[in-house]
Symmetry: C2
Subunit: 354 residues, 2 copies
DNA sequence: CAATGCCTTTGGAACGCTCAAATCAAGCTC
DNA sequence: GAGCTTGATTTGAGCGTTCCAAAGGCATTG
């Protein structure tokens, strides 16, 4: 038998600290210390108390702890109603990672429904006032996002998934290095022998989009490849992308790096339209590794965000901020990884670099 | 000015019930009553107290309430790490709906990370013991799922998203009527003039899959159409589906109803392979309305689950169960809706039913 | 030997709220 | 006018935990 009887009292009420104390022949405070400051106890006392705790299946009541310590061990997260459909599919992976990392640190994620429009502050105030949430994780951070300043002003720890693209940087964040992702995509294509590598992105002005464009540009320059006339801008939907990518194909691009999987799909359509085959005639790389990417035909090479790592970093940064509210802000940029699939096949000639 | 100054005390500590009481010139209990049992107070007293509450921006502390009442107003939800990729994309919509419905009822969703394997009970025990969670919402309910029996045994309110496909029915659940969805798909196709309508599903034995197959079969029979040789089974991935659907096409099916969007996509591939165009030569209907469905070309007609409604129902059932633990179990089957897109176009001849 | 220090343990109070029961003021009945 | 019901409010206690201060044991000191 492992150790605990794990019999959670079918009888009256839960096991309390006082019950454990009585059974162990010590004061309640000693039991509390056994849990929170074990080094205060004499080793033999500690062992005895721990034994009784296990035996009785005692679990401290969070409500009582929160009341006394004003710390709920809860992290607030405002869940939004599938903003555009682009980041949505990956959000539940992030949420799971977040939850897992929090659990490991003894925290839990408390959800609240964010209204569809711009992120309002009501929910945050509510969680703060009533639940004594210890901190927040922000996602879908937008330009002109009021949340960071609002939270910082009242000294509430928070961490953003996503950097601040405009204005003064406030607080900690973890983000994915989009430029690095598109850079890697270009590297991959160059290694495959491509030189006419185009970029299909969103209109300038979106932080994320500009970041991804920058990585492409940087890599192209590094290889001495021209970027002029090799870049197009499109709205976020497939149809817009299909049209926007045409000039790039007309100009003889042999590969397209897209700012999202959806845009990449538009590129697929444009190619089919001219009886070209994605992957064979023109290589295509997407971004996000959405569920769609893997089931397209040919399957889409794409840049995957390390969502599990981001979730972990968010929790780490948040805990650090809580431990030391005065510490200088920390920002973490995580490397995405290129997922190579059939849309960027190895060239016919078997000629790997020496 | 609306009503509340909404100034959440930049000064020392939050506003407590006692402070409100003092300011309003009543006892703490009266303030409590003003919130929880307003009909106990004289109207004028009530108004006065409420005025002070608003003015001071008072919010009851959940921790204290939980401690006293043994009810945390928290609903536990175990979030799983993207099981297969099929149901995953829709889960965040469900979670948002759930959160929203809970918020409206004064509850919140408390997340915990479910380990990847079969649903373990550890997380549930933890939430129960330490957080005094009032109830649970179960999703990804599986055959041989131990959770329902476990929770029922200790009298914990819960509701499942998904019915129990095997064994004795335990507790309340809300689910989507898959049969009704495929039935509607057949209706739609029949109205379009199709008669050779095939079904592409998963191997028998999965509750969800058999349900969806049954709807197709039922509708076919109703219209006196043959089902023999018109049904194929496939694993859940695109490639398996592509192969499995071939016999159906060979047999001259003019339309395919698939048990999932992924299977429908496999059907697309099979059609392209034989130089047929989905939607034009053979109509295809998917199931789930995954993000992929809308961006395929041609866009995929599919059966959409009313996830928002399911979330709402889950909360409603759970609250009802909490209010009356002894009530007979309630089961709700919600109607999915057919989303008609380009894969099931109207026939060339303009001949709507008279 | 009393005084000093450290290590371990304890007692009392408090966190903010709600339950149960008590109090007080009226209104009615006979 | 004593007795009973009804309505509105207050009183006292306690939910389970941790904070703070203080007490006890024991060894080391002046």
């Amino acid at each position: 038998m492992p150790r605990s009887t794990s019999s959670p009292s079918p009888k009256g009420g839960p096991v309390t600290l006082a019950m454990v104390a009585r059974r162990a022949g010590v004061s309640p405070q000693t039991v509390s210390n056994a849990i929170n400051s074990p080094d205060l106890l004499r080793p033999e006392t500690l062992e005895r108390v721990r034994g009784v705790i296990d035996e009785m299946g005692y679990r401290p009541s969070r409500a009582a702890q929160s009341l006394r310590t004003r710390s709920s061990k809860l992290i607030g997260y405002g869940i939004q109603p599938t903003p555009g459909g682009d980041t949505a599919p990956v959000m539940d992976r992030f949420l799971h990672a977040l939850s897992q990392a929090a659990d490991a640190a003894g925290y839990r994620i408390l959800l609240f429904a964010c209204p569809p429009g711009g992120p309002s502050l009501d929910g945050y105030e509510e969680l703060l006032g009533r639940h004594d949430v210890d901190g927040f994780v922000l996602s879908n951070t937008a330009r002109q996002d009021p949340r960071q300043a609002w939270l910082a002003k009242r000294g509430v720890p928070f961490v953003g998934f996503g950097r601040m693209w405009s204005g003064r940087q406030i607080g900690d964040w973890a983000d994915v290095d989009g430029a690095s992702g598109t850079d890697a995509a270009v590297e991959h294509l160059v290694a495959l022998g491509h030189r006419g590598i185009a970029f299909l992105g969103w209109p300038r002005g979106s932080g994320v989009g500009d970041d991804r464009a920058a990585g492409w540009q940087r890599a192209m320059r590094r290889h001495g490849l021209p970027t002029r006339g090799r870049r197009a801008e499109s709205a976020g939907d497939v149809e817009a992308a299909r049209i926007a990518v045409k000039p790039l194909l007309d100009a003889g691009a042999t590969a397209v790096v897209a700012a999202s999987d959806t845009l990449a799909l538009g590129c697929y359509h444009a190619l089919r339209e001219r009886n070209a085959t994605p992957g064979r005639d023109v290589a295509v790389v997407g971004f996000d590794d959405s569920p769609t990417a893997g089931i397209l035909s040919p399957s889409l090479s794409t840049v995957a965000q390390p969502l599990e790592a981001v979730g972990g970093e968010c929790v780490r940064l948040l805990l650090a901020r809580m431990a030391n509210p005065a510490a200088p802000p920390e920002r973490v940029l995580l490397e995405p990884s290129l997922v190579v699939r059939d849309s960027t096949p190895a060239p016919d000639s078997a000629a790997p670099a020496p």
